[in-house]
């Protein structure tokens, strides 16, 4: 082979290598054969594509955290979301006495509001919040990701309720065997119940069959209660008051 051919070959290799790297060919090569479909896989597939199954959600969720000395912290989360990126999330103490925080996305900017101080800090929604290219959409892809990829808008929500409204992370758990243990009805909605164990954590999750949203979640650590989350209200695809997505008057920039 002549020197000219060597240079030509290596140049072509570099060009295709860069293109391949950017297109994620290593990911494609890592894909493994699909395991036989099971009902648990169907549940995970529903969570993976959850955000395609609803346009608006609004409701409330109570989340209880347990400390090592039997302390308890309880929060009421109120949420209203319209796809793709309008949201209003507020967190209060469970008795409603103190509004701890509020987060609003108007589609171009997001605002963290301190209801006590009546101040806010705002910033433009980052570009990745609208970029779905890394989010796996099939179970095969989810099981072969190099990291946990959360929903790009859901991961910006600074409240744990964001994890349950955008449950795409669930199907990406490495080294987890999921057990579908039954069905139930919560808030007049049919739900699947799945359980799994990883290290010292035991999880039971109740997953809405229509939307894939996790409407109830219990986690224990070393046999002790750690977290209990329950949706207490849920409306799917009902009209949402658009003023919820506008920065309220009466709050000033920090």
């Amino acid at each position: 082979m002549t020197k000219k051919n060597w240079i030509f070959s290596i140049t072509i290799g570099i060009v295709f290598g860069v293109i391949g790297g950017l297109l994620g060919i290593p990911h494609l090569l890592q894909a493994k054969p699909v395991s036989a479909a099971s009902t648990a896989d169907d549940v995970l597939n529903t969570t993976l594509n959850s955000s395609l199954k609803w346009n608006t959600v609004q409701g409330t969720a109570v989340i209880v955290w347990y400390g090592e000395n039997d302390e308890k912290q309880e929060y009421l989360n109120t949420f209203a979301i319209q796809q793709p990126n309008l949201a209003n999330i507020s967190v209060k103490n469970a008795d409603g006495s103190v509004a701890a925080s509020e987060w609003i996305s108007d589609g171009s900017k997001a605002y963290n509001i301190d209801p006590q101080a009546k101040t806010y800090a705002g910033g433009t929604l980052p570009a990745f919040s609208k970029d779905f290219s890394l989010l796996p959409t099939t179970l095969e892809a989810a099981k072969n990701t190099d990291a946990i990829y959360r929903h790009p808008f859901g991961m910006l929500i600074p409240s744990p309720v964001g994890e349950y409204l955008y449950p795409q992370w669930l199907a990406q758990g490495k080294g987890i065997t999921y057990n579908l243990v039954g069905e139930d009805t919560i808030l007049n909605r049919k739900v699947w119940i799945i359980t799994y164990i990883k290290y010292n954590a035991e999880v039971t999750a109740w997953i809405d069959e229509e939307t894939g949203i996790i409407v109830k979640y219990i986690q224990s650590m070393d046999g002790r209660p750690f977290e209990e989350m329950t949706f207490t209200q849920l409306e799917v695809n009902s009209p949402v008051d658009r003023t919820l997505f506008i920065l309220p008057s009466g709050v000033i920039s920090q």
Binding site: S9, I10, V18, G20, G21, E71, A100, Y149, M221, E227
Partner: protein, 161 residues
């Protein structure tokens, strides 16, 4: 015959080179937390070291949750950072806020979520091709449990533009 052999070798060389460059372009660069954090704001005092096989490389740094948080960052990095990742140790129980210094966005990674344990968690990307640094702090985040639990600084990773 000689010409055909030359073409064949050219194709093989091109494929091998493409594979090597593809791997290099896609590789995640890792930065260990050990001894490399830089102070940004809040109370002074370097994070403590936790020796555990649950941490990447056998140890993590940590500070207990506080309403008077200290902010630390990984060293400033050269321009061209794209995707950001943080490794989640399998002993976490707190929620950790991560963000980039200049583009002013942050996300919360739940270190208590078993799905995150023992793997990298994607944090987002830097849109501008400018020098950036990733920060985190031991702040209590409203809505998550706050019992002075350890917030871990384990290794972070990134890919370039």
């Amino acid at each position: 015959m000689k010409r055909a052999m030359s073409v064949l070798i050219s194709i093989v060389v091109a494929i091998v080179t493409a594979s090597l460059v593809t791997t290099m372009v896609f590789a995640v660069t890792r930065i260990s937390e050990s001894g490399n954090l830089s102070y940004v704001s809040g109370p002074s005092g370097y994070p403590s070291t936790k020796t555990s096989s649950s941490c990447l490389g056998g140890s993590c740094l940590y500070l207990n949750q506080s309403s008077d948080p200290a902010v630390w960052r990984w060293p400033y990095l050269s321009a061209g950072i794209w995707n950001w990742y943080a490794y989640c140790p399998s002993i976490g129980q707190a929620a950790a806020k991560y963000g980039v210094m200049y583009e002013s966005w942050s996300t919360v990674m739940n270190q208590a979520n078993p799905s995150n344990w023992g793997t990298d968690v994607y944090l987002g990307y830097s849109d501008k091709n400018s020098s950036e640094a990733l920060f985190t702090s031991n702040t209590c985040i409203s809505g998550w449990g706050c019992y002075s639990l350890p917030v871990y600084w384990d290794s972070m990773g990134y890919t370039g533009h």
